[in-house]
Symmetry: none
Subunit: 412 residues, 2 copies
């Protein structure tokens, strides 16, 4: 079954707000085995709404129209739907009574504008709004089930959960969509695609499977989907996922929605181990990411962000002569930082970063974009050199991810 | 002039990612006086892309097609455009050479897949990608200027800024939209709206002005827009902005696109002053935000992220007896942290945070959500208590913003 989402609202077209509703609805519908084939957003103008309705109404089993149900003059969705489907708006005394109660319960005056919200499409089923004043609607036209919802996210979500999603679920699509997303890091999209080539070929040969490579600055996600009418498909799907994980090798670190920091936390906690950070170029970002995880204080001692060079001497025991000899951005320096912080704070691991992220900086030994990372434990210290692009924010993200990934691989 | 945005990508239709590109592009185009009339998103399927092109190509002056330019099998945008516009794909040796250089500079192998990205629409103008491998394209069809850009946000933005927006600006729409966004922090949306009420009334009385309140977790932006065909409108607009800034008072800290950290950097640098941080509950996030600013090492010594309690004793001189007496989350503790780090690292200012962000924690003296912030200088130490909601991520954001804002107000 197919669904189309039609959003009505100037505020989206002028870039004032993000259309996060479309993402949420798509995710929910996909989970019910419905294929969302189009998102379309138009402004609060009759001609544009009509044109959009012309292009979508007969093409889907479900059409969700969102936005433009407010009390002000620029909210015209109901009026336009009334014209388009040649259905009059009818005064709904029951809904008006609920609106009056709504305002009374909040000690707010009800304006004349709000009374407009009691005019609803004749013959349509009203979908009550339990946290706002705009009622939803449900009706059928040309074989398409049409749902009308407000643009306010929590009002829309409440209607979806209470009425629309359960309704769609009863249509009981025989075809379900199984989906899972694998997370990888430390490998680029192309290299990963090359490594997974036999699997990609298998996917191409089957119409029930789709595989997408979704790269971002720090990781590549692999999303596998399988359409199936068979209730026992889960077993086959799980086997395919296992096969794909094999192809990803050590660059695979988990399945959505986990994170590399969550995995690090889980492993350190399980092992009763602790971590201390000495950050230079990452500037506290490793520490920030790790401290997003609730309970991390059980394993993370803290981070020494030694941003100015003098602190490297004062806090992680690297003498000026040593810095002079090796340079602040060097393998020798980063190893000394990792070992020093581990000993100073008496942790199982010491993780350190140093680099030139730009937009200026760098020297003969370490050009702009050079980052050194080291991980020290009682038995050994390992270090890696990276060269990132000269974009400060992205280089910092990549350096942070590389540091966390070095630790993740060691803990695996 | 009118523009339509066509996004191609299954990952948006299944709700995996938000279409933030559409918002960004809409905002930029609106600023050039272009009216964005439609956003449309379809999947990576030829029939759907063709149908969307049918519905939009003749209807706008500009069409921006985004997504599906990657190196893998599911990226079919170029192939479909080639079919639809009956224009062959042609091997671009120059772009291939740039791709090879791109991979070489990053020490990454170039795969066969990437070679596909050197096949571009014959006769179209190539828009170089300075941070990725997918080239953009620009051509004209049926009187519509068509731009093709990658879906990766920073690659798209770079092409928009370097080529597409300047091109559209030369088309010189007679009606310009003047817009400016004021940044405030430390005040809620309703309180700010109440304070600005006389200005809001003035805006309502004029059809050429719009004012929007845009709240987020840490700040409220105020965007003022004025439509005008008059080249001298700038002067009037600037006067309106000055008036609005007066209403905002000390909660106003700058105009978009500045940031509170940029303002702190500029003032510290100007004053030849330095800053040292002692972070507990903010976990390195203050340091991370400040180190996003190029050149910050001139004023930021570093940050001592004392996440575990033992480090507060070891590194910022708070004895166990002191902690026992006052509690780790207390005014006495945070003042001691700020003073201690300032003296230890010999900086002009010491800024410190401590708190219980949740989802669990808190004690009798400081319930969950309590955050203490202190700023110490040679002459005085000031401290403030906050109570944030029990959502870890948002409370951390708010605590970080409050700490930066305390420093910003002191420096003003």
């Amino acid at each position: 079954m197919r669904a189309i989402l039609l959003t009505i609202g100037d505020e989206i077209l002028i870039g004032q707000i993000l259309n996060s509703n479309a993402q949420w609805m798509s995710d929910e519908l996909t989970g019910l085995g419905v294929q969302v084939t189009q998102h379309i957003t138009v402004g609060d103008h009759e001609a544009e709404i009509v044109q959009a309705l012309d292009s979508v109404v007969p093409k889907a089993d479900f059409l969700i129209v969102g936005g433009g149900l407010g009390p002000t003059h620029d909210d015209i969705t109901m009026k336009v739907l009334s014209h388009y489907f040649e259905t009059p708006l009818e005064y709904d005394a029951d809904w008006l009574a609920q609106l009056e109660a709504f305002f009374k319960s909040r000690n707010r005056p009800m304006t004349e504008n709000n009374k407009k919200q009691a005019y609803l499409l004749k013959g349509a089923t009203r979908i009550d709004n339990d946290c706002g004043t705009a009622a939803g609607q449900h009706f059928t036209a040309d074989g398409t089930q049409i749902f009308v919802v407000p643009g306010v996210p929590h009002e829309m979500k409440s209607m979806m959960k209470r009425y629309i999603l359960p309704f769609i679920a009863t249509k009981n699509p025989s075809e379900r969509i199984l989906k899972q997303t694998l997370l990888t890091t430390g490998i680029g999209e192309s290299a990963l695609a090359t490594r997974c080539e036999p699997f990609v070929q298998k996917v191409k040969a089957r119409s029930d499977l789709t595989l997408a490579f979704l790269p971002s600055t720090t990781q590549v996600k692999l999303r596998l989907q399988m359409k199936s009418a068979d209730a026992n498909a889960r077993k086959e799907f799980d086997a395919l996922i296992s096969e794909l994980i094999e192809y990803c090798g050590k660059d695979f670190f988990g399945t959505d929605p986990t994170s590399i920091e969550q995995i690090i936390f889980d492993r350190l906690k399980q092992n009763h181990e602790t971590l201390a950070l000495a950050e230079s170029c990452t500037g506290g970002y490793i520490s920030h990411r790790l401290t997003q995880i609730p309970g991390i204080s059980a394993v993370l001692k803290g981070s020494m962000v030694v941003y100015q060079t003098e602190l490297k001497t004062k806090e992680v025991g690297i003498s000026e002569a040593f810095l002079e000899k090796n340079g602040a951005v060097s393998e020798a320096s980063v190893r000394a930082m990792a070992e020093s912080i581990r000993q100073k704070w008496n942790s199982t691991y010491g993780l350190a970063t140093t680099g030139y992220l730009g937009p200026t900086g760098g020297d003969e030994r370490a050009p702009l974009g050079t980052v050194w990372i080291a991980l020290s434990s009682k038995t050994r210290t390992e270090s890696s050199e990276f060269h990132f692009e000269a974009n400060r924010e992205r280089a910092k993200e990549r350096a942070t991810q590389a540091a966390l990934d070095l630790l993740r691989r060691t803990l695996s």
